[in-house]
């Protein structure tokens, strides 16, 4: 245990943002590629809303990329808050395949990175601020699901009426419930050990972000969202 903490401490002591970013990209890509077909089936819990009965949870690996996006924003900040999640998606989508919805999923993960970055303060990695991180994570997941499902509706999976939009969001509920449950648990399981390490004198790097990098990083998710919308509308 002590040896493990020392090893992690050494990684953190080496304040190399690129190394940490590559580490996160590798972990995320490996998990998504190797586990995407090995998820267990949905548990036998069903929910009926708006006349549609469906499983309450539809399992996917969203929480892995979501967690890495938030961690990237929180620990690395700057350009890395969107470079890390988008790199994972580019690598894994190239292997697994995707379609136009990637415009929305990629920008959605960039939003999560931005939320992680907005949490980045000197005191954010303390036990007292854990509820704040969890709350922001939940808000980010809701934003991601609202955004990507809007893309699904706009992209033509459902009729372009209010009924179609309502049906789109109703059908998305099992994914949203799973995203909320899995990501909240994942954030807790990762953030608490990081805080533990910090409180046991392991240095957690605090990278300085230059003003220009900060501005570009904040603008990037917005630009990606606009590109996604324009691509579908034009």
């Amino acid at each position: 245990m002590t040896q493990g903490i020392k090893m992690i401490g050494k990684i953190f002591e080496n304040k190399n943002r690129l190394m940490l970013a590559v580490f996160l990209i590798t972990i995320g890509s490996i998990i998504r590629v190797f586990l995407h077909n090995n998820l267990p089936g949905s548990p036998s819990i069903y929910i009926t809303i708006n006349g549609v009965t469906q499983p309450m949870f539809m399992l996917d690996l969203f929480f892995v990329i979501a967690l890495i996006s938030i961690i990237s924003g929180l620990l690395l900040g700057g350009y890395y808050m969107f470079i890390v999640p988008i790199s994972i998606m580019v690598i894994t989508d190239a292997i697994l395949g995707n379609n136009w919805i990637l415009l929305f999923t990629w920008s959605g993960f960039a939003i999560l990175g931005l939320i992680g970055y907005m949490l980045k303060t000197k005191k954010s990695l303390t036990l007292r601020h854990t509820p704040r991180i969890l709350g922001a994570g939940i808000g980010g997941i809701l934003l991601y699901d609202i955004w990507t499902n809007f893309g699904t509706w706009l992209g033509g999976w459902y009729t372009h009426t209010w009924e179609g939009l309502a049906l789109c969001y109703t059908r998305a509920l099992p994914f949203m419930f799973w995203h909320l449950l899995s990501t909240t648990i994942a954030i807790t399981l990762v953030i608490v050990p990081i805080i533990y390490l910090k409180e046991h004198n392991v240095t957690i790097p605090d990278f300085q972000i230059k003003p220009l990098e900060k501005k570009i990083s904040i603008a990037a998710p917005v630009v990606l969202m606009v590109i996604a919308l324009i691509s579908l509308i034009v």
């Binding site: 009926t48 549609v52 007292r128 033509g156 009924e163």
Partner: protein, 151 residues
């Protein structure tokens, strides 16, 4: 009450209150029947059904025919049109929706392909579908309309 004790109560309530709300909503859902633990019953024994299938290609060209199939979904009716040699279809199974989506329908040598600005939608008796085509069983005298919609 001293400051430390008060801040501890606030901290604990930040975790406990959302948890209590989630658990209450879940239990409330079970007691009202919104949440169940049994697979929903699906209508899967419709027997023989005759239905009109119309395909509107959106450029003035349309196809219409009547098919009779036993206990079949809207998707199986479309496959029947293909088996009949009238059209060719391409579909993709979307795991996240547990459904097949029509990518393209080729009719009289022209391929009508869904993309960024067009898609294949279907209607049952004039109503937009609430589920995937492979989830809806066709009833006798149904009118199935497939429309190549552009936006």
């Amino acid at each position: 009450m001293n400051q430390k004790k008060r801040s501890n109560i606030i901290y604990t309530s930040k975790i406990l209150i959302p948890l209590i709300i989630v658990i209450s909503l879940f239990l409330g859902g079970i007691s009202t029947g919104i949440i169940t633990f049994e697979s929903p019953n699906k209508i899967i024994n419709t027997g023989k059904a005759s239905a009109t299938i119309e395909i509107d290609f959106g450029d003035g060209i349309a196809y219409s025919s009547v098919f009779t199939l036993d206990n079949s979904t809207v998707f199986e009716f479309l496959l029947e049109v293909e088996k009949n040699g009238d059209i060719n279809i391409e579909t993709t199974y979307w795991e996240q929706f547990d459904s097949y989506i029509v990518d393209s329908i080729t009719y009289q040598g022209t391929k009508y392909e869904a993309g960024l600005s067009a898609y294949w939608a279907f209607y049952i008796n004039g109503q937009p579908a609430m589920e995937g085509a492979d989830k809806i069983y066709v009833q006798n005298d149904d009118l199935i309309e497939w429309k190549f919609e552009k936006f």
